[in-house]
């Protein structure tokens, strides 16, 4: 099974609005997820500025398997990942 890819924008604006904390909270999911059977591994990548902040939109910006989460606090990102885990279990 392919990994769940989580791309966390690590440009200036997004780091200022908490990108590092999002990365840490995704890693913190490992303990919880290991209790769920057959869940895919999560791969977190710090990516360069996605350019989404130009034009006034507020970060931080995260993509979970391509799905864009805007202005995502850690809890929304974690929820999106747990959601993907649940989806992959159904297939």
């Amino acid at each position: 099974m392919a990994n769940i890819i989580v791309e966390v924008c690590s440009g200036t604006h997004c780091v200022m609005l908490g990108a590092m904390n999002i990365i840490d909270s995704v890693h913190s999911l490992d303990e919880i997820r290991h209790d769920m059977d057959q869940c895919r591994e999560v791969e977190v990548r710090a990516v360069p500025c996605m350019g989404l902040c130009k034009g006034g939109a507020q970060g931080p910006f995260v993509r979970v398997d391509g799905l864009l989460i805007k202005g995502g606090e850690s809890d929304r990102v974690m929820a999106a990942i747990m959601d993907r885990c649940a989806q992959s279990q159904d297939t």
Binding site: S10, G11, T12, L17, G18, M20, N21, I22, P48, C49
Partner: protein, 507 residues
């Protein structure tokens, strides 16, 4: 809230960015500062409150934060004073900062109970009700549906809480006061937090602890930017804890490049000043311990040093006399470039206090934190990852760079001592947070640390846990360790400090 990113963190950083933006964009000859009224609407848009009971209160608090970020005092809430009062005078490159450095914004404070026991819905009105049995003053009784605590009788001993099998009795404390190791937070007439400025040592842990963001420190970002914009030469001295603070893609070289892109001429590592500090403290230890002084305490954390002197005045001379790394680095810059301004960039609020001291003022012009620096980068839309690395300044040893973590300072000094006087035993005791420092000082007073080197830190984990940091402590500690290993020099003694290391040519 240490290590977590919350709405509070967001608001703080938005305020810094707004102040930085105006500092960079304003017309130097014609600034009316009305921009800041608009800032409060940008940060708190709309008509529906997000964080508190009303948008008006939210904006009022933002405006006081803006004043503090400008280096100005907050306004009294019971008299009219325009937001912009004092701003024209603050638009200077001269140092403006004055105590009080750390301020409670009284109307942002929710006056949390200081030590309060109460029964929650967990209570099952059980048959045993041990809560009543253990109370030494008969304050707990069984009511209709749950046990009840008579607050007038309660002596806050906590036995009922310990005894309850359902954890139904909880204690509410005041987070800021409990974070304060100097026990400097009391209450005003309305029960709101009030800082006793005689006891406060400016560590800033209360700022991190308050869940209602009611406490903030003053900033010097406006004055720093004014210096840059009025053509003054500014050098930056950056603390060893800076690595990894600006995101996983911002390597040290890119951070340096970013700082220069703001208009700062050159960045030097304060880790280099730490090496000088290690040499001096080692010398002082070997010279004075145990004959002149029973032990030696490190001095680089100003809050710890001030706390130690206040808490145990009889032992004040046991704190090392050497200049801190910040001052050593700043002195070196001013020696070669007497007309330049020096900005110290670091993790903490404490250094802002140190820079107010008479002996330090001639060397350090401004102190800013990494959070404030991030506001500057954001205001100028500087994308660190896209910059070319500025040459990595290899001026600090591994030990100097490790000053950033608890234990690093002591290790650095011990290494020099053992290189200078091989075979000399140096027992070490460390404490981080002022609560632990207090205990360590009590042991010192009792004569239990004779012959020791004591390392005191006000922040948990050392400097990487400072209130002006952006990164979680464990992540930051790893970045610091890696950067330390990358140095060509291991200990302070290995570092060839007499080299000419500061040519003014931009790198």
């Amino acid at each position: 809230m240490r290590g977590l990113f919350t709405s509070i963190t967001k608001i703080r950083r938005q305020v810094f960015t707004e102040v930085a933006r105006y500092a960079f964009e304003r017309d130097l000859d014609n600034s009316d500062f009305n921009f800041f009224y608009e800032s409060s609407y940008r940060i708190i848009p709309g008509e529906v409150a997000t964080y508190r009971d009303s948008v008006f209160k939210e904006r009022a608090i933002i405006r006081e934060r803006i004043r503090l970020a400008m280096g100005l005092p907050i306004r009294p809430a019971d008299a009219h004073q325009p937001l912009t009062k004092g701003m024209a005078e603050s638009a200077t490159a001269d140092k403006l900062l004055e105590m009080p450095l750390i301020n409670v914004i009284p109307f942002a404070c929710e006056a949390c109970a200081t030590d309060h026991f109460q029964v929650s819905d967990n209570c099952r009105k059980c048959l045993a009700h041990p809560c009543t049995g253990v109370c030494p003053v008969g304050a707990v009784s069984i009511g209709k549906t749950a046990s009840v605590i008579d607050q007038d009788k309660c002596i806050k001993c906590g036995r009922c809480k310990e005894a309850c099998p359902y954890q139904a009795i909880s204690r509410i404390g005041r987070p800021c006061a409990e974070a304060c190791g100097a026990k400097a937070i009391g209450s005003d007439a309305l029960g709101r937090a009030k800082i006793d400025q005689d006891k406060c040592v400016s560590c800033g842990l209360c700022i991190v602890a308050c869940p209602f963001a009611a406490i903030a420190d003053k900033s010097e970002i406006f004055q720093l930017v004014t210096a840059i914009r009025t053509g003054q030469t500014v050098f930056a001295a950056i603390a060893p804890s800076f690595v990894g603070q600006f995101g996983p893609l911002a390597t040290p070289g890119k951070v340096v490049a970013g700082i220069k892109a703001l208009g700062i001429t050159r960045v030097i590592e304060v880790g280099w000043g730490a090496d000088i500090g290690s040499l001096h403290e080692a010398e002082e230890f070997l010279r004075d311990v145990p004959d002149e002084k029973p032990f030696l305490g490190t001095s680089c954390c100003p809050s710890w040093a001030m706390f130690a002197r206040k808490e145990q005045p009889g032992l004040a001379n046991c704190i090392a006399q050497s200049h801190t790394p910040m001052v050593a680095a700043a002195q070196r810059i001013k020696q070669e470039h007497p007309d330049a301004r020096v900005v110290f960039i670091g993790p903490c609020v404490s250094k802002k206090m140190e820079a107010l001291e008479d002996e330090v003022r001639p060397y350090v012009d401004y102190v800013i934190t990494y959070e404030e620096l991030m506001g500057l980068f954001a205001a100028r839309q500087i994308e660190l990852n896209e910059l070319k690395e500025a040459p990595l300044m290899d001026y600090a040893s591994r030990d100097g760079r490790n000053y950033a973590v608890a234990g690093g300072v002591a290790q650095a000094v011990v290494n020099v001592i053992q290189e200078t006087a091989p075979g000399r035993e140096v027992p070490v005791m460390k404490a981080d947070t002022l609560h632990e420092c207090r205990k360590m000082l009590a042991l010192a007073k009792a004569g239990k640390v004779n012959g020791y080197l004591l390392e005191g830190m006000a922040c948990p984990g050392g400097c990487v846990g400072g209130p002006g940091t952006l990164s979680q402590i464990s992540r930051a500690s790893k970045s610091v360790a890696a950067f330390a290993q990358a140095s060509s020099y291991r200990t302070a003694s290995d570092n060839p400090l007499d080299q000419e290391v500061l040519p003014i040519a931009p790198g």
